[in-house]
């Protein structure tokens, strides 16, 4: 059974006051997310990521197509017992404390009253809000509200979580904590579906990604297939005299002086051993040698810039 599947999911909005016309925000989205995947749903701002997640949460209804979560129709109340959801830029009842909010949500999940306090305390500790649990949310910073959002999304020990821009509003420490949380969820067997436009996070965390642009699925697949193992070149850093560098200059695509005798050489993918040999014979000292591979960013840019314009619905 797939954790998440969508087939031909599309969403039109009516735009214009006097002559309303449909505007297609999401076009024919078909996805299959396996259980246990950490699935990155990537795209630039306005690409349709949040629309797709709201369709999965049934906060909005599709114009066509359908979605299933854990084998049941999205929006099924019983499915919601097994999922967690963090909306983009979340907002909660600010007259409550984090502890009260989570206790209320725990009651909606029918978590037994005897368990609620311990469960709430545990998830608040997990997101680093243990000390502020009795503070009203109206006194929270944006990052703290984001952490409350994460806490309420994992309160029911979900099988699938949907995080819409989970890193939004977080400082570097917060982002590190969220990355750790996602990895913990993955290790527990939870399927993680998260949207982001921060590619480094996706590259660190995901095993599969989909790229959406202009409301259409532009590309997708396993991260290992996308970033590939093929070496596109080498980056060699050496301490060498100008004479030694002159001997290999024609073999390098580019040479950059970093500091006095320290140089960075951009070498083609062919074996760099010959260049290394010439340089060491000339008395150079190798500082580092790293392969250059295709990154997720290259893949992203390639597909996002090549995406068809969204246009109006037909």
């Amino acid at each position: 059974m797939l954790a998440i599947e969508t087939e031909g999911l599309s969403k039109d909005y009516q735009v214009g006051f006097w002559r309303p016309r449909p505007y297609r925000a999401l076009h024919d989205l078909t996805l299959a997310v396996e259980q246990g995947d950490v699935y990155g749903f990537l795209g630039p701002n306005g690409a349709g990521k949040s629309t797709a997640i709201k369709l999965l949460m049934q906060l909005i209804y599709p114009t066509s197509g359908h979605a299933r979560i854990l084998g049941r129709p999205a929006g099924d109340v019983e499915v919601r017992r097994r999922i967690g959801f963090l909306p983009e830029n979340p907002s909660f009842y600010d007259y409550l404390t984090a502890e009260e909010l989570l206790t209320y949500f725990a009651s909606l999940f029918d978590i037994p009253a005897a368990e609620r306090a311990a469960r709430v305390a545990r998830v608040l500790d997990d997101v680093g809000l243990g000390a502020e649990r009795r503070m009203r949310l109206r006194g929270y910073s944006k990052g703290m509200v984001q952490r409350v959002g994460l806490a309420q999304a994992i309160l029911n020990d979900p099988d699938v979580v949907f995080f819409d821009e989970p890193m939004s509003g977080l400082d570097p420490l917060g982002r590190r904590d969220v990355r750790q949380l996602l990895l913990t969820l993955r290790d527990r067997g939870c399927t993680v579906f998260f949207s982001s436009h921060i590619l480094s996070d996706a590259e660190t965390l995901c095993n599969r990604v989909a790229i959406i642009a202009q409301g259409r699925l532009a590309a997708g697949g396993r991260l290992t297939d996308i970033v590939g193992v093929d070496v596109l070149g080498w980056e060699l850093v050496v301490d060498a005299s100008p004479e030694a560098i002159a001997r290999v200059r024609t073999r390098a695509r580019r040479v950059t002086v970093l500091h006095e005798q320290r140089h960075a050489l951009d070498l083609p993918p062919e074996s760099p051993e010959a260049v290394l040999q010439i340089l060491t014979d000339a008395g150079a000292r190798v500082v580092s040698l790293n392969p250059v591979r295709k990154t997720l960013e290259d893949f992203f840019v390639q597909h996002v810039t090549g995406a068809a314009p969204r246009g109006e619905s037909r």
Binding site: M57, V77, R80, S91, Y93, E100, F105, F109, D110
Partner: protein
């Protein structure tokens, strides 16, 4: 729809109102108004009890109406505006349970507020009873602690339940809280004049206008049937049959409004 979920959502609405200063400031304002009516009654020899009862009931009605309209129209609109609805609707709660829970929570809030105002009202009447000479009391048409006052207050409660349902209905689709407030107030005002709509043909010549007025009479709630303040204050008999029928019709009207609100809310996109 789940009763347990409705109860939990209603509890949250009640908690919000407990933490919100607006309803309580209105209750305090109502108590002050009732106290003022007590002072005014001292200036009206022999009419003091009637003045207190009249102003007390009118104040309860007005304050309840303000709470029902201001909070009722924001029940859904505020959730959508501040986007707190996203996280709640992703929980195992149907939209219908959420909406009915919201309604039940505000009705509970109104009931508690009405209860507090009733207690203050009875304390004032008790004080009047203590401080009034027996020969004056003999001139009262109804006792100071007339149990029929509770009937009048309960019927105010029924009117407020209906007003809350109207406010909730508008708030499920209106994007402007101000418009929702105006529409709700309009329904409340028209509901108190619906009896006049029924007999309008006796006052105007236009058959078309008469038909329109008749249609409006059947479309709008009849809040006039639930108003027994005059009978209670002046010690007149209450037409129990008409009141019973009015309550039944109002409950049915509330059912239709909540059902319609659920239908609209179930189809709504939260962008």
């Amino acid at each position: 729809m789940s009763l347990a979920a409705i109860r939990k959502v209603a509890g949250a609405v009640f908690k919000e109102s407990v933490r919100d200063r607006v309803p309580y400031s209105l209750v305090i304002f109502a108590v002050i108004l009732m106290a003022a009516s007590f002072l005014m009654s001292r200036l009206t020899a022999g009419q003091d009890l009637k003045v207190i009862k009249d102003l007390g009931l009118a104040t309860m009605n007005a304050m309840g109406l303000l709470i029902a309209i201001f909070i009722g129209t924001g029940l859904v609109a505020k959730e959508v505006e501040r986007r707190s609805i996203y996280a709640v609707l992703a929980k195992p709660v149907s939209r219908a349970s959420f909406l009915v829970g919201k309604y039940a929570g505000l009705v509970l809030t109104l009931a508690v507020n009405l209860g507090l105002m009733t207690a203050a009202f009875y304390l004032m009447l008790q004080y009047l009873n203590w401080t009034t000479d027996d020969w004056i009391k003999q001139g009262w048409r109804a006792p100071s602690h007339d149990p029929r006052l509770l009937v009048a207050i309960a019927l105010i409660g029924v009117q407020l339940m209906l007003t809350t349902a109207v406010a909730l209905f508008f708030s499920t689709f209106s994007t402007s809280p101000m418009l929702s407030m105006l529409f709700t107030l309009a329904v409340w005002v028209a509901g108190h004049f619906s009896g006049d709509l029924r007999n309008i043909q006796t006052a105007i010549d236009s058959p078309a206008a008469a038909v329109l007025a008749q249609g409006l009479y059947y479309l709008l709630p009849n809040l006039d049937a639930l108003d027994v303040k005059n009978e209670v204050v002046h010690g007149l008999p209450i037409a129990w049959n008409a009141v019973g029928l009015g309550v039944a019709a109002t409950m049915a009207y509330i059912g239709v409004l909540i059902g319609s609100a659920v239908l609209v809310f179930n189809r709504r996109d939260f962008k």
